[in-house]
């Protein structure tokens, strides 16, 4: 009889309860759209559930897996949005971020970022990951992460208090 030893196997429902809200917020930072974020997060969680046996057995980092899948899926969703913007511009609603009254400067600044830049901001500052882990979760090189982050800083600096960015270490 095989025994899994001392590894604590987490039930999916426990995992879901602990990560769902975080994932939803992460997805919102990626998409800046509540409906898109909810759809994206739901899809990511559903995929996690379908692969839960693998995720828990490999004893990896399920939360990191969620973020990676969210980043990848957000790219395909972004493509779709971009497609519609290209061909049917009048049907695109104004950016929801602009309506977020609590911090409109930051919301608008985020909206102006390229997707990659927003992804790296989400991972680096919202998820508080080291750059090397950002690179792993985005599937790109460390150098590229730095480039995207530097550009994101340049773009954000014009919109928010530069002092905030001064404390950030690349």
């Amino acid at each position: 009889m095989w025994c899994r030893g001392v590894v604590q196997v987490m039930d999916f429902s426990d995992f879901f309860r602990s990560e769902a809200d975080q994932l939803l917020r992460f997805c919102w930072v990626l998409t800046l759209d509540t409906d898109e974020a909810a759809d994206l997060a739901q899809e990511v969680m559903t995929r996690a559930y379908e692969r839960w046996d693998l995720l828990e057995q490999q004893d990896q980092n399920p939360a990191g897996w969620l973020r990676t899948v969210a980043v990848n899926l957000s790219r395909s969703r972004w493509r779709r949005v971009k497609r519609f913007r290209m061909f049917v511009p009048k049907l695109v609603a104004p950016p929801q971020a602009a309506a977020v009254a609590s911090d409109p400067d930051l919301a608008l600044a985020l909206e102006a970022l390229a997707l990659r830049q927003r992804q790296v901001i989400a991972l680096r500052y919202w998820a508080d990951l080291p750059l090397a882990e950002c690179a792993i979760e985005m599937g790109i090189s460390l150098g590229s992460v730095k480039q995207h982050l530097a550009r994101a800083h340049r773009n954000l600096a014009a919109a928010i208090d530069p002092a905030i960015l001064q404390d950030l270490v690349l």
Binding site: K82, M86, V100, D103
Partner: protein, 597 residues
């Protein structure tokens, strides 16, 4: 979490307040996705899958009859008793009974598809009524089932779907239930919108109005619409309509994907060379260039698909794509920032035969010099590139617009100013734009490369007078028979030989001219195949980059003389005049020149 992280989190928290995700371990993944408005992703199917699915369905069906599942009649007449398929009785059989549940039919096929877990086609083998836990069902045994849900991008065999069942109770006590025993049927195809249902044997049930059957044979009646008022009654037609949308959607998706990939490639290129500052608009030009390429590809894809399917492309979609391509070209031209340039084009009016070869010099967007090539008509109006874009937007009919992929300017326009007036159609073609900066750069390269400037022979100057005032040139080659000169004429480089061949009707001479940039880019100036007495000369002048490459000649007779400035071939004196017996070749790195081409 630092301050920025906290502000991000605060924003995200406020934006997602009240949103609750469903735990898939409780609701099941399929349910969760449908709760969140899962769509059947028709736009992502490959065109190949569409074609094969259409074949699968249409190839087996020449008519379709819809069945409103469960909305049965207890009419016992004409019931089908098995064997080869006949439409009416089969339908009655499938409707034999009273539904014992309430439902709300879908308003459209799209909605029906969205509500279903699988859209499938296959053959019906038999039908029978069964009872499970006191409830009565019609079980339809099926075979050869394929899912035409497009998520997978291909038809998927669904061997797990063997029985489709729906509630239907036989309530007519005066007549025997025609489905009391299984009824086998041959040649009955079905189209089903199915969802899993654990309450029935086989585990699959059709959605309300979600099962369509068809016997082989044309013109079967449609007894009920399975969808909304604007949907075709036949799901095969609906699927064909989807196919057209899928093809267009796929083309657009591919274009968008290609655009993203190209943008990222451009961005990565910058990543590798961080020293390059992009403030000069490189990124925007690249993006505009990619957008134009995507628009071109999207339009081409739609046309290709239509050709492949032997049908007309959707004119409304094409018009949108053409407009998108035109706007992408104009945006690229604007982003390129070219305001000073040389512009050449041919204006022609097909009905009248009017043809004007126009050469313009444009500074800061304004025409400062206009020339019409000798012998051509003189147009009343000339156009800058911006004016070309404007006139395209203003005419009644645009037959064709071809755009340059690098700068977006029109290369060819076929227009009709007023579609109520005959004879006002006109074309602008062979449109050539040379930016001023490129010409200046080319001039510097040429000045550095050309040999010493020498006076041209007096006789040649006289002959050239009608076309140019040039008096000096660059002697590239001389032999016993002739001399080869290049001379610069404004923005052009010209080649000419002396003595220039003349006859009694000659009024002058003209060199063979190219824009300096064209000479450098195309690397070779083919001057002419010039009759000189009984001898023809083929003159090729390699441009600087290719001068030192290995030039060879394929010839029948004659001699080849290669100098440091030109490749000159003297054809066999016995050969017929004007007949080219030579091919001059150069395998110049990534380029191959084969002249005359």
């Amino acid at each position: 979490m630092n301050d920025l992280g906290k502000r991000l989190n605060d924003l995200a928290s406020r934006a997602t307040t009240g949103v609750v995700l469903a735990d898939p371990s409780i609701t099941g993944p399929a349910t969760v996705r449908s709760v969140r408005g899962r769509k059947v992703t028709f736009g992502l199917v490959s065109a190949l899958a569409v074609a094969s699915m259409l074949f699968l369905w249409q190839g087996r069906n020449s008519g379709t009859t819809s069945v409103v599942v469960g909305q049965g009649e207890d009419n016992s007449t004409g019931f089908f008793t098995g064997g080869p398929c006949t439409d009416g009785p089969v339908l009655e059989l499938l409707q034999a009974g009273i539904p014992t549940y309430d439902y709300e039919p879908a308003g459209s096929f799209d909605e029906l598809a969205n509500q279903s877990a699988a859209v499938v086609v296959g053959q019906v083998a038999s039908m029978a009524r069964t009872e499970v836990n006191g409830r009565s069902y019609i079980e339809v045994t099926v075979s050869g089932v394929f899912e035409i849900s497009v998520d997978s991008g291909a038809d998927t065999p669904r061997n797990d779907i063997e029985i489709i069942a729906y509630q239907a109770q036989w309530a007519d006590r005066s007549a025997p239930d025609p489905l009391a025993s299984p009824v086998a049927v041959d040649g009955l195809d079905f189209f089903g919108f199915l969802s899993p249902w654990s309450g029935v044997r086989g585990g699959w049930a059709p959605g309300p109005e979600g099962l369509y059957v068809s016997c082989n044979g044309p013109g079967l009646p449609v007894i009920a619409s399975g969808a909304g008022p604007n949907d075709p009654a036949d799901p095969g037609q609906w699927w064909a309509q989807k196919a057209a949308e899928q093809a267009a959607g796929q083309a657009m998706a591919d274009a968008a994907t290609a655009a993203e990939a190209a943008n990222e490639a451009a961005e990565d290129q910058l990543d590798e060379h961080p020293i390059v500052e992009t403030s000069g608009g490189f990124e925007s030009v690249e993006a505009a260039r990619q957008t134009l390429a995507d628009a071109v590809e999207a339009e081409a894809e739609v046309r290709r698909d239509a050709n492949r399917d032997n049908r007309e492309a959707d004119p409304v979609l094409l018009e949108e794509l053409e407009a998108a391509r035109f706007e992408a070209g104009r945006a690229l031209w604007t982003a390129s920032g070219i305001s000073s340039y040389r512009l050449r084009y041919v204006e022609s009016h097909p009905p009248s035969g009017f043809t004007s070869l126009v050469s313009l010099r444009i500074e800061d967007g304004h025409v400062v010099d206009t020339e019409f090539r000798q012998g051509s008509d003189e147009a009343d109006q000339v156009f800058t590139v911006d004016e070309m874009f404007a006139i395209v937007a203003s005419v009644d009919e645009v037959y064709d617009v071809t755009l340059d992929p690098d700068t977006g300017h029109p290369v060819e326009l076929r227009l009709d100013r007023d579609d109520a007036v005959r004879g006002d159609e006109f074309n602008l073609r062979e449109i050539q734009v040379i930016p001023r900066q490129d010409l200046d750069d080319a001039d510097l390269i040429l000045q550095d490369w050309l040999p010493e400037l020498v006076p041209l022979p007096e006789g040649l100057i006289s002959l050239l007078r009608p076309s140019t005032d040039v008096t000096q040139g660059y002697l590239l080659h001389a032999n016993d028979d002739l001399q080869v000169f290049l001379y610069l004429d404004g923005d052009e480089v010209c080649a000419v030989i002396d003595p220039f061949p003349t006859n009694a009707d000659s009024t002058g001479a003209a060199g063979t001219c190219r824009f300096k940039t064209e000479f450098l880019a195309n690397t070779v100036l083919l001057a002419n195949s010039v009759p000189q007495g009984l001898t023809s000369y083929l003159l090729v002048v390699p441009s600087p980059d290719y001068l030192d490459q290995q030039w060879t000649a394929e010839a029948e007779g004659g001699t080849l003389d290669v100098t440091s400035w030109s490749v000159l071939f003297t054809e066999d004196e016995d050969a017929p005049l004007g007949q080219s017996l030579v091919r001059i070749l150069c395998e110049c790195g990534d380029r191959t020149f084969r002249l005359p081409s």
